[in-house]
């Protein structure tokens, strides 16, 4: 089944950030006799420029696989993926996106600033003052005092901030995040969520965000894509209401709209029949 999603309030005339069209990905069984695993089955999804879209679903629903198709870390068996109107591969070669994984994946022999500088050193831009840009990024993620520390001297939350700063280094218009806060404690996690929204507000980047957490998805997103496993497909897309409180503030978490969003996503995940306000059904 193909689902074409459009959000009326965010009609953007510029090129969509991500366009996934009928993507199917099958992992063939290594052992003889074992069945192939259909990780993604005919998945379509559009992410507009500047839009925050979360992918949520139980383990094995293919949300990370979908993200990997967009990042060109894996290729679909059928269907196509385009990023800013280019093929996913071209977009990767052109470094059009920044990426953060569940593990921070920092290089332990490099300091915080050297880690953040990595994408800038590998793909030099003419006239760019790398040191100044790195300082700017370190300030952005609030690690001003830790520029010369090594990753093993930082907490998990700080390491993840470094990873996010690194993903932002080239000021990408698209951020791909695979459960970046998954390993953090709840308090750090909520603070990081607010910071991420602030950063996105400042950079205007579109985000595709994989998560297990319903409140996290609701708090962060314009739209939440609910996926179901075996075969992995898009079950429902829930459009979030604009809460009364300023976007990204902690007051949002106490807003009635936030709770309605949580309920709507939960019901979508659990095959709920009742769909609340602002829910887009198939």
């Amino acid at each position: 089944m193909t689902i074409i999603i459009d959000t009326p309030e965010r009609l953007d005339t510029t090129t969509d950030a991500v366009s996934v069209d009928g993507v199917t990905r099958i992992f063939s069984a290594r052992k003889r006799g074992a069945a192939d695993v259909v990780a993604l089955s005919d998945v379509s999804l559009t992410v507009h420029a500047g839009e925050f879209v979360s992918l949520i679903g139980p383990s094995g629903c293919g949300k990370s696989t979908l993200l990997r198709q967009i990042a060109d870390l894996d290729q679909p068996d059928a269907g196509s993926v385009s990023v800013f109107g280019k093929t996913a591969r071209r977009a990767r070669l052109d470094q059009d996106y920044g990426i953060a994984f569940q593990q921070a994946g920092l290089l332990p022999w490099r300091t915080v600033s050297q880690n953040i500088a990595l994408p800038l050193q590998m793909h030099r831009e003419r006239g760019l003052d790398v040191a100044a840009r790195v300082r700017e990024l370190i300030e952005l993620v609030g690690l001003g005092d830790f520029a010369d520390r090594y990753p093993d001297q930082l907490s998990g939350g700080m390491q993840q901030r470094v990873a996010i700063a690194r993903s932002l280094a080239r000021n990408p218009k698209l951020l791909l995040m695979d459960e970046p806060f998954g390993a953090l404690d709840e308090m750090t996690r909520e603070r990081m969520q607010s910071e991420l929204l602030r950063i996105c507000g400042e950079t205007g980047a579109a985000v595709v965000f994989v998560t297990h957490s319903i409140p996290e998805a609701v708090f962060l997103s314009h739209r939440v894509v609910v996926m179901s496993p075996r075969p992995g497909r898009v079950k429902e897309v829930v459009v979030m209401e604009r809460a009364g409180a300023p976007v990204g503030s902690d007051a949002v978490r106490d807003d009635a709209a936030f709770f309605r969003g949580v309920t709507a996503v939960r019901e979508a995940l659990h095959d709920g029949a009742a769909a609340g306000q602002g829910v887009e059904n198939r």
Partner: protein, 271 residues
Amino acid sequence: MTAATAVPSAPVVARRRGLPPALASALPPLVLVVVALLLWELAVRALEIPAFLLPAPSAIGAEFARLTPQIVEASVATGTNALLGLVISAVVAVLLAIAASGARVVDGMLAPVVVALAVVPIAAVAPVFYIMFGSSSETGRVIVVAIAVFVPVFVNALRGLRQVSPVHRELLRALNITGWRAVRTVTVPTALPFVFTGLRQASSLAVISALVSEYFGGPKTGIGSQITTAASGSNYAQAWAFVLGAIVTGLAFYLVTLALERVVSRHRPSP
């Protein structure tokens, strides 16, 4: 036995007195050595053990003090061969390991060669090299060291080069870092602690091989030659003084590579 029973209580005593930790950990083995030397000295005197069986430590010490310049000279000669062989072989081993980790074909070609090198009897090839390069040349000794050192460095380096974590692999791909740049920025730094573990194993091996190769002829420059010369001249205390020099040289090699390993592994998971 007396020495051994004295050891377990020593650290407790040291800690209770509030000694600095470095001294507290160094004290027990020092006590052991001193006690063992005393027993040795006593045994030699009391039992009147002849010098060709075992000279007294005091006699060895006296010889060591008298011959210090010669011992240093001989240690430098042996150490130079060991160092040359170690460095040359380590560089070649690391480069070949990089090639093997990059291409399965190279790995397949090298694997049997490495096994063959691992079983080369150093003692047997040394005389052959003296014939090949002439008995006044040190080249054979350097080659003997190089052969002995190659395997531990190569095996550890190759293992290290394969330790790149999945998340770093993904990062390299996402950042479009390929080829030699990927090797330089991620693969080699990941492997470095493993390379140094190999070097640490290889460092003592290098000194031992350099020394043993001297037993089979060649110029009489190194510490191994001096040991045989002294022993055949019935200067047993002198032979032992040179053995002591050999131990110090080996220890120096080991400690230097250990220190390098510590520096390199400071901010990364060690093997």
